[in-house]
Symmetry: D2
Subunit: 382 residues, 4 copies
């Protein structure tokens, strides 16, 4: 493939910065491609864009430099010191490709104006670098739940509403999705925000014949659940309750612990569990902000289940990971797979990428092994 663009919404955040620094390290062969699914031998002959065929830019509302963010991530244990030092010059270069993001609080004018500006930023980026295509990936902070509006039902009504100055008819993630498609780019939502999941935007994707994928990257607790729950199910063990607690530091902890924000995340986690087990179970779930944990994310799950003759048993696990470390390689994987799908002329929801998401669009499969098989099968057809 020729050069591909990766345009990150939230380009100065932890996930984006880790992905960018990692991409630079992969290019220079300073690290093996650990945790990169797309680098598995299975996908070697697929013609995915190489590490040095991916050009990065993005939007962000924060103005911390990538360099500074990478430093913080290094202190937090996410980026090894030696990689940071090597990456500094290239990070500064990428920094020049980041444009101010959209946020209703700082924007005057209509959302249509905002979307036009965002689309133009992506277009200039593509032109500047002679990119054949650009994949837009949303890795910004999780948004509060956005209320449904009648205008979300059809593209025409939506665009009319977007044109009204001062009206906020879409959350930022959906403005970003809209802008991406207006710039003729595939869109990936790595967050649980609303993004493309509106009839009006799906309509736009169909018209533009663009593929899209999402949503909410499956990085930790849910990843583990997506193999354990099928284990119980395949053995006919009767799960009676599945309690979970998540301890998060960093900005994410602050965002997600907030009741309203957590809404979207907790919902997307819960939906998967019931599907995996085949029935509803008692499943209390908490997300706590624990600032001293920094980038670390610790999840404890307790599963109580009934076996033969109704005897009660239990399984508990503690997952201790770094959220950005887990998310970043998947962002690169998604950019590569979606670019290829786009090149191959696929459009609409890419259900075969369910392997990467907590709440997959275009698929009802939540079991990891089955999702992985589907990914490989799909790749074989590209």
């Amino acid at each position: 493939m020729g050069t591909t663009g990766l345009w990150l919404i939230g380009a100065r955040g932890s996930v984006a910065t880790t992905a960018i620094t990692g991409l630079l390290a992969l290019r220079s062969k300073a690290v093996p491609a650990t945790a990169c699914v797309s680098a598995q031998p299975e996908f070697a002959d697929l013609g995915l864009p190489d590490w040095d065929e991916i050009q990065v830019g993005g939007h962000d509302i924060a103005d911390i430099s990538l360099d500074k963010r990478a430093e913080l991530l290094s202190e937090a244990g996410v980026i090894p010191h030696r990689l940071l030092d090597a990456a500094r010059p290239a990070l500064s270069e990428v920094d020049t490709e980041i444009r101010p993001g959209y946020h209703p609080a700082t924007h005057s004018g209509s959302q249509a104006d905002a979307a036009r500006r965002l689309a133009d930023d992506i277009g200039s980026f593509a032109e500047r670098h002679g990119l054949e295509q650009v994949v837009v990936v949303n890795v910004s902070s999780t948004e509060p739940v956005f209320p449904g509006l009648p205008e979300h039902g059809a593209l025409k009504a939506l665009e009319a509403a977007m044109a009204v100055p001062g009206r906020t008819v879409l959350p930022p993630s959906s403005v970003a999705a809209y802008a991406a498609m207006r710039a003729d780019c595939p869109f990936v939502d790595f967050t649980p925000s609303l993004g493309i999941r509106l009839p009006a935007l799906e309509e736009l994707a169909r018209r533009q014949r663009l593929p899209y994928a999402g949503s909410d990257g499956k990085t930790g607790e849910t990843l583990v659940r997506s193999v354990l729950a099928p284990m119980f199910a395949s053995r006919s063990l009767d799960v009676r309750s599945w309690a979970g607690t998540n301890l998060l530091g960093g900005g994410d902890g602050l965002t997600l612990a907030d009741a309203e924000h957590a809404g979207s995340k907790l919902e997307s986690k819960g939906r998967g569990l019931a599907t995996l087990l085949g029935s509803e179970v008692t499943a209390p779930l908490h997300i706590d902000n624990v600032p001293d944990l920094g980038e670390q994310k610790i999840a404890w799950d307790h599963v109580s289940f009934e076996g033969f003759l109704g005897v009660r048993m239990s399984l508990q696990f503690t997952w201790s990971g770094y959220d950005s470390t887990l998310a970043a390689p998947l962002v690169l994987d998604l950019a590569r797979f979606v670019a290829k799908a786009h090149e191959a002329g696929q459009s609409g929801p890419l259900g075969s990428l369910a392997f990467f998401f907590k709440d997959p669009v275009g698929s009802r499969e939540h079991r990891l092994a089955e999702q992985y098989a589907a990914l490989r099968d799909w790749a074989g057809t590209l």
Copy 2:
């Protein structure tokens, strides 16, 4: 299907007693078929023998009554009180179908004599009850590792050696497998003992056109490992160490904690892990005898893995189960599936039953999801 026999080697042990009591409870519809894989809707049209079409007998070297053993299991939390009371009369009946097992320490004469006597016991049982077939399942205690002998290489040499009075050329599990086949019965090894896994005995299975399955029922820690390890592999997460500790009470704790005995169990656990992960990892494994735990089995696993950019993360789990509770329904499942396979004319190692075993014969697949898919596919062909 007509009536099927289930002949248990170790018929007075905890696993057997739980399976028998459970079978009685299932027959009387006192309990749902929780943990019975063969009772899943997927297998409903297969024509497996119904709960009331299975007749039980067996061999054991212990002389505790089934009734008494069931009482102990009830106190240990494995059999609910109400089921015990209901099952007592039927348990006494099954008790009359249990014959003295073979043990070299108490046997005089040749192993050929012993095998003949065992085969006769099974034969009489089949005749007495007009059984179309009898599946022999070994659920006796794990044996110490038995040294390889040249006579194990071919059936003729083996039978010659077995005929020598006082010579111990086979461990009890293999004598049982030999006797089962001489009585024209399929054989299942639920333990890690040697059993049928000798060229000479495999030769006998081929000649008799008998199916067999094994070995070492996958009931707890290894079950969990067989979904977690593929999870790490499919995400290209690099597992660096996987440490395990098992705390066991009961007779099993005593048997397995013994260094020599544990040998076979630890080996069969270790073999699977390397296969699942695609490479060897540091994987210390302990089995401790903790008598006060009774029938409970507690396993703690600690997995240390590397993610993107070499960052270290970890997963740990604690499994708290009852070994007999976990094993017993699988014994019933295996009896049903193997009976059906036998009826359908299959012979040789049933690799499609790998789903049930730590160290499957006839299969190199250790991933649970893939094993489950193979089981369903296979069932569709019966």
Copy 3:
């Protein structure tokens, strides 16, 4: 000592029923005095009432029989079957000593009337059995937080308000405490409810020269915290966060998971932790209702701390217990110790009993070892 009365508020609840059944088993020497602190050799010469010198009665608003409740507790694993069968006749006898409790929803008339009736019940009980003294222990369900009122400040004002028909100036726990003191009985609050902790009721205790103790029995997670937190402190390890999750079934789970109810419990837990560590820490705490756990209570705590040179480390623990099993022996201990203190003429808050409580009255000491030493020292003075 002569015969002592133990009057339980919530006498048909799980804790009370376990305590009563256990007392009967201890009397008949069917079990050793495991978990009974007062049965330690240190306290042997103190002249505490013997197991057969304690007569039980109580109040409850539920009308399930003790017998039936004990049966449920037996199924839930709290009372061994063999003890249940032996205890049935005696349980029925105790049942006749239980009177209807007070609840505002079912009571018409003034709270003064209610208190008078409750006090009379206790008085009759004492007279009927010729008891030298009766210790009243509150083991009823945790109440919602009750708002402070000006009338709580002084006994005279309180009694005036209580006399107003239809006015609810006190929660049931405080009505019970008031009634106990009016019946000249020491009062122990084993729950986090308001109980005696009002200036007006403390005034009454002083006037009546009655001892009292409380509050909120320290049975599980907090017990462990009260030794771990001092460990960190004495080693100058800097605890940065201490997260806790509690999974509870039974009625308690339902009561405590309710946000308003949990208020009082969570507060009393939190207070201790800050005191133990010497400063405030991030300490998210959840109580989840998980009905399938029955009487079991599972707590997971994750402690993140800084050591030498600011290096981050962690400790996590999982406590798996039965709440009633843990609480019941302490109820018997408290009855014995408080009876003795009363006999010895002590009055006011018994701070030396802090060992038993999450939120001790009359003491600021939360460290278990120091509380235990204080208990022994105090016992030496009786």
Copy 4:
């Protein structure tokens, strides 16, 4: 106090290097004194040597530079990068104060010769820096168990045997203890090695009127046990089993996992537990070498206990720490306390320092809270 020497046996090891780097950071006030017990306000008026009044030297058989070791520790997460850079020059200076240690494999001549040389090294160090006293602390690798010899019984016999060229009558730790005392220095054994614990060496300590302390620093799993076990005991909860697994990387993992070496460590851990609980319990204990963990040490303990009416419950914990991080501040504490004790004219085993050790000399107290109280009481008398 005037300037005090701290002479480390194993001065280039992880614990020593962390202690030295930390001491430098404390001197420059680059870090707070987290994890330094001796820096608590309780001990402020004691006149302990200040951080800049401690001069460091030592023996080691390795020839890696302190600087290099500190770098490795920094990569392993034990020493923050910023502290490493600041400490480099001072580390090089300390490096010049390290002399070749004694090891039988590389030594020719008698052990008396070796001891004389070691004592001379310490003497020159003291003279060179005008030190009033030098505390010798053994932080070298754990030795294999050394067989008892008749010559260990009395000083005269021991010295006669030591004088025989080529005879190895003492392990290196005991040669070091002997040399320390011959140089008139107090000795502290932070390892489980034999060290001073021989009648002949205790005799020497008495003659020289020297104080000594040990042995085996209480840094992780045992620290936690020393508060949890008393918790169970004070509540009369009946601990039935206490299983432990330790995962260690680094050199320590290699040394300790070796069966023979582990002997001494496992024994010293086991001894404490039985004392703490008041009786023997089933207590399987493992130490596994898991190289990828580096300096990390992970311990999992599972405690099964019986409560009221014999009901079974459990507590499990996972400790995740850095061994050198935990040990280093205690080494500094011990140097300060022992220097003060020496100055105050104390001699013989310092049982009041039991707080710091798994297997304390001069004390039978293993409960942490009681040990801490004893430490404070003792400090008050200095």
